[in-house]
Amino acid sequence: MSAEFDVRYTAQLARLSLTDAEAAKFQSQLSQVLVYVEKLKQVDVSGVEPTAHSSEMNNVFRADEPRDWFTSKQALSNAPRQANDLFVVTKVIE
């Protein structure tokens, strides 16, 4: 499986671009990690349920009531760009 690992393609899925040096280094390092995790194939997992997290709980509800939280000024206080009390995004539709 690890032979199919393409670091540049995967990086692009995660919205990362790599320099040639980074790509070569990560390709080799992560291929090693993928070879290491192959050991999980030795384990018989037939009939075993997956664990998403360790506490035994399902849905957690709380009362759906409004309460005080951030003001828009606070919410915008770390925005790299803002205008008219709104976040400025890069144009989505050409």
Partner: protein, 487 residues
């Protein structure tokens, strides 16, 4: 008297007796920081103005009244920076308190300073910080462990009375072991993570670094509890974690997992831990051998599950609501790609890519789903072992602190440093690292950590067992030589 050397409990006594004030306790830390931190590098920043105001107004009748607690740079404190030691959050100022900070304030404590760490808590040496190195106070040529390396180093160097860190695969216990202090990872669900910058949400847990086990219990008293803002926090009656401290160990059964005593452990670590086990027998505990048969798969499961969750959690860094944003972008794709490539460091990129790969179409079942199933088997190992024993005992780390730079080009070797701590995060149970001796390495003394793992939500008993050892051994009283000659 050297105020800065006091434990939380000892400082609390002095404050309440009126022999020192909260402002003096803060001053003592500041003066200590100015002497040792240029070398240790544990603090990214500390602002004294606000802390001093809080110290002046401190209510000493509260459980942690007037006590400054240093905070890992991954936990939000209103008005302070919170960068997760990443360039992508440079300049970010928190607009709210994490629940643990609110609870510390309610207990009268004063959040103080921002502590260095591996970027986004990804690492075992704190070398992945985008800002600075933190050095091990016992040997400045060595790493303090990670990811909460700053949290461990400042407590060991007496530049903090106590601190908070986070533990996803050992990030509290491993640096505590390598720096010679006490580090507690509470049970998954015991402490709210609201306001903690998320790394791997099914594994992350916040916990204290302290000089003594008693202090660890005092801090957990303040931190624990259900929080409506973290749906994974568990609704259990509040416990008093100091209630069993001082009780003897008659009738306590401690398991030695045979898979944790393997070749490859530093012989000095192996000896110190075996001596500690004999010490527990002398204290009246019964030692039994147990088996955790799926131990050898824990690291592989962890690096699939943790990176998968990280790749999703870190998708939020898009340069719109907070954090770095690339200049002069051509279009939306360019905006995202350049913002993230400029902002994230090397290890973070590596893990996002690995996590994206194991979740990607065609590979999900082979990697992620299979890892989640093996995680079930690892949990079952612990459930079965805890039917027979009250706690498990093993080394926290297979080795002592390694040299700065030794592992930086070998991620897989770095990942294997977490081999003894990771399973507790996968299974969710609580764990603690306490000092159990020193290794002599090249004329330096380097701390060794003993790890005790407890049943889910039985922190009180875990602390009792840790306390009995600590109080009958000298290790927790030892300090690195940071006198002017040591510096």
């Amino acid at each position: 008297m050297d105020l800065h050397t006091l434990s939380v409990a000892a400082l609390q006594k002095q404050l309440r007796s009126g022999s020192v004030s909260a402002v003096e306790a803060l001053d003592a830390l500041e003066s200590r920081i100015s002497i040792v931190d240029p070398k240790v590098g544990g603090y990214l920043s500390h602002s004294t103005h606000q802390a001093r105001k809080e110290a002046t107004a401190a209510d000493l009748s509260k459980p942690l009244g007037g006590i400054p607690i240093a905070i890992k740079d991954v936990i939000n404190v209103t008005g302070e920076g919170c960068s997760a030691a990443s360039k992508i959050l440079k300049g970010y100022t928190a607009t709210y308190d994490a629940t643990v900070i609110r609870k510390l304030r309610e207990a009268g404590a004063i959040p103080f300073g921002r502590l260095n760490m591996d970027e986004f808590a990804m690492g075992s040496s704190t070398e992945n910080s985008a800002y600075q190195l933190t050095r091990n106070p016992w040997d400045f040529s060595r790493i303090p462990g990670g990811s909460s390396g700053g949290s461990a180093a400042v407590v060991a160097a007496d530049e903090a009375y106590a601190s908070l860190g986070s533990d996803t695969g050992g990030s509290i216990r491993q640096p505590a072991a390598l720096c010679g202090c006490v580090g507690l990872k509470p049970t998954y669900g015991r402490v709210s993570r609201f306001g903690l910058i998320a790394f791997a949400s099914s594994l992350d847990q916040i916990g204290p670094f302290t000089k003594t086990v008693e202090d660890s219990a005092l801090l957990l008293n303040a931190l624990a509890g259900k929080d409506p803002m973290d749906s994974t926090s568990v609704d259990l009656p509040s416990d008093n974690y100091t209630r069993l401290l001082g009780q003897d160990l008659k009738g306590i059964r401690i398991g030695m997992p045979k898979e944790y005593f393997i070749e490859g452990i530093d012989p000095q670590v192996d000896k110190a831990v075996r001596d500690a086990i004999r010490h527990y027998e002398a204290l009246g505990a019964e030692i039994v051998e147990v088996s955790l048969p799926h131990t050898e798969y824990a690291v592989a499961v962890y690096y699939i599950v943790a990176t998968a969750e990280a790749s999703a959690n870190l998708a939020r860094f898009d340069g719109v609501r907070y954090g770095h944003r690339a200049d002069n972008v051509q279009n939306l794709l360019d905006h995202y790609t350049r913002t993230r490539s400029e902002g994230f460091g090397e290890e973070v990129k590596r893990r996002i890519i690995l996590g994206t790969y194991v979740l990607s179409s065609g590979y999900y079942d082979a990697y992620y789903l299979r890892a989640q199933k093996v995680r079930t088997l690892i949990r079952q190992d612990f459930t079965r072992a805890f039917e027979k024993v009250d706690a498990l005992i093993c080394p926290t780390s297979p080795e002592v602190a390694f040299r700065i730079g030794d592992r930086s080009d070998d991620p897989l070797k770095m990942y294997l440093a977490d081999i003894f701590t990771i399973a507790a995060n996968l299974a969710g149970n609580c764990g603690i690292s306490i000092p159990c001796g020193f290794a002599n390495v090249e004329s330096k003394r380097l701390p060794i950590g003993l790890q005790l793992l407890g049943k889910p939500f039985e922190e009180a008993k875990l602390l009792q067992i840790a306390h009995a050892y600590e109080q009958s051994t000298p290790w927790h009283r030892e300090r690195p030589d940071l006198s002017s000659s040591g510096l």
